[in-house]
Amino acid sequence: MAGQLKIVCGTVHSAERAFVVRVEISGAQPGDRVTIRLTQTAGTHPFYAGSQPVDITASGRGLAELADVVLHGPDSVAVLVADGEALRSDEAHVQVVP
């Protein structure tokens, strides 16, 4: 598990509107390919789920882009999960750029 992050509708992103979630990874092992999963865990159905593979560069960074994230109501929560097996650094952490 690389980390997780909540995205709450209504504070930054509007419900029913597609927005882009960029996931920055840092501190990972260079050369790895990490799969990022964004899974809605609460809120209004239908729940969003998406994933993107991320190639980690020599600087230990990676950037995933989930382009059509749509949450359907206020208080929806999405949890961001990095593929724990592929990501071998204990120091890896994940940041979502709004």
């Binding site: 504070t11 930054v12 992103h13 509007s14 509107r17 597609a18 927005f19 882009v20 960029r22 092992q29 260079p30 050369g31 790895d32 390919r33 991320v54 190639d55 980690i56 560069t57 020599a58 600087s59 960074r61 990676g62 950037l63 995933a64 882009e65 382009a67 059509d68 750029v97 709004p98």
Partner: protein, 582 residues
Amino acid sequence: MSGELPAGVPVTIQVPVPEADPSRATLTIYPRREQDCRDPEGGVQRHEYGMSVSGTADARMLQATISPLQIATEYCVNVGYEHGLSPGKLDQLADMVSRTAIDWETSCALVEPDPAHPGQSRHVDRPRAEQIAEVRRKLADELTRSLVKLRELEPAKAGIHRAVITHDPAQRIQDAAATLTDLVDAPVRCSALGARRGDEDRASYEVRRSAALQHQAADALKRLPLEVRSWPAVVMPGPPPVAMPLIAVLGQAASLNSAVEHVQLADPVLAAELAALADAPAAEAPARRDALHARLAAPPPHPLPIVLFLPSAGRSVRAADLIRPDRIDPRLFVELDRGREPVLRQLELLRPQDRVTAERWTTAVSQLADAIATAKDNEQHYDDARKARADAEAAIAPQLRLLVATEVMKAALRKTEIVRDQPPVASRETDDKASWIAPTAGVMIAAPLLVHDRRFADPWLVPYLGASIYFTRVDRVIDLEDLVGPDRQLFWQRNSFSVGVLLSRPALRSRTIAGPWNADVIPFLGFGHRFTQYLRGDLGAIVFQYSDRIPVITDLHWGLAGWIGVSLDADVWAVFSGKLGK
């Protein structure tokens, strides 16, 4: 307001303005009927007056001129004022609104597939009208939320009944949000942010593309042979580390030991011979050196594992350990990120004995190093673009704060909430400067009863003058129908006893009558009822004496007359105080 209220004359009531900007104030006054001064919401003498603001700064007053009040009466005075947001609340509201979380991304643009890059998305500007509507909606939502919070933060002071009476608050909030949206100039900001976001989108795309290319370049390494028909190159510790052919180290006795470990990974037998050379007595060393020199001058008889010294790791690693089928050792990426030259130099030294393998490795490692460098540059561009976009978005909040603080916005926001504050009702008494006695002059018709003759004589039409005696002070200003008070008081406001004299002496049998006991004046008693302020009807009795019908009889007889009359009921106090006819 202090002291008694004057009765019978118009009165100007002034109240200090408790708020900076009351938009409307109403003074309600009514006679006190209930102990708690409850507003009857109707009835006589209940009036509402609009109040105007006079004075400036701390001397601002609300004032209204009210109609004359009834004398000696207790009134309840109720001043309610309506006001918009106070300056303090305006500041709080400006702070709240300036923190409006506007998702500029979705307010300004739509996300749609990018035809130029299949599988990718791009931001496309929404029409100006939609951008404006979106920003206005966010501001209106924030205004609505903020006004609710403000109401919770600032309840009415003790004793003041507060009611929010904003007429159509939603429309006022929409108007304020529209004004602020105009000031913000959403399309211009969207355009500027769109440019920044476009940079960020492109930089993001390039980062991901270069990372994928790096992945491809790394995968290419997996297809390379892991052995080479060349003796390994060695790297002498620096700084800086220097790569050189193994054959060149043979003459440097001090460097041999550092090369042994490296060579051990490629050819343990050769490594043992190098170690023996390093430890050989001086007499044996030249022979051993010459033998090794001759051996290293030709390619090895069979391929040897490729061994690379990684200066950043400070150790030598077999290529087979660096490049595994499932992954590339991260140390290789780190090494190439720091500098490709030490690795490429080692590969170049393999070229004289195995040109094909060395060139394949050189090409693949160079491509990976290029991909790493490109990815690094793109990451920097992405960081810069993202920071520029984030800075541009972050700069909007303080600008929004300044815009909310403009006078035009304050004027619009002030009207988003109209509150009616109702301080406790005050009760006040009016003065009792009025007279309870009034001169009366009128004309009567009297029916004289001649007691001695036991018959009525012809009626008299005579003027009279007297005084009306009321048992309360008489209000001559308030309409009789509007007078208030206890029934007893109301009765004596209209009715009175009167005493007076006739202004002429009627004649009977050609001789004037006399008063009792042959007096020269003829008094009367009466009881009157006011129909209007000054006009009254009277009825009463007159006691008189008259002569006998036989002239020689000088004794006078007693007579009694009943009369009715109409009189003017003047009021001395009203005349002198100027209230007459008010």
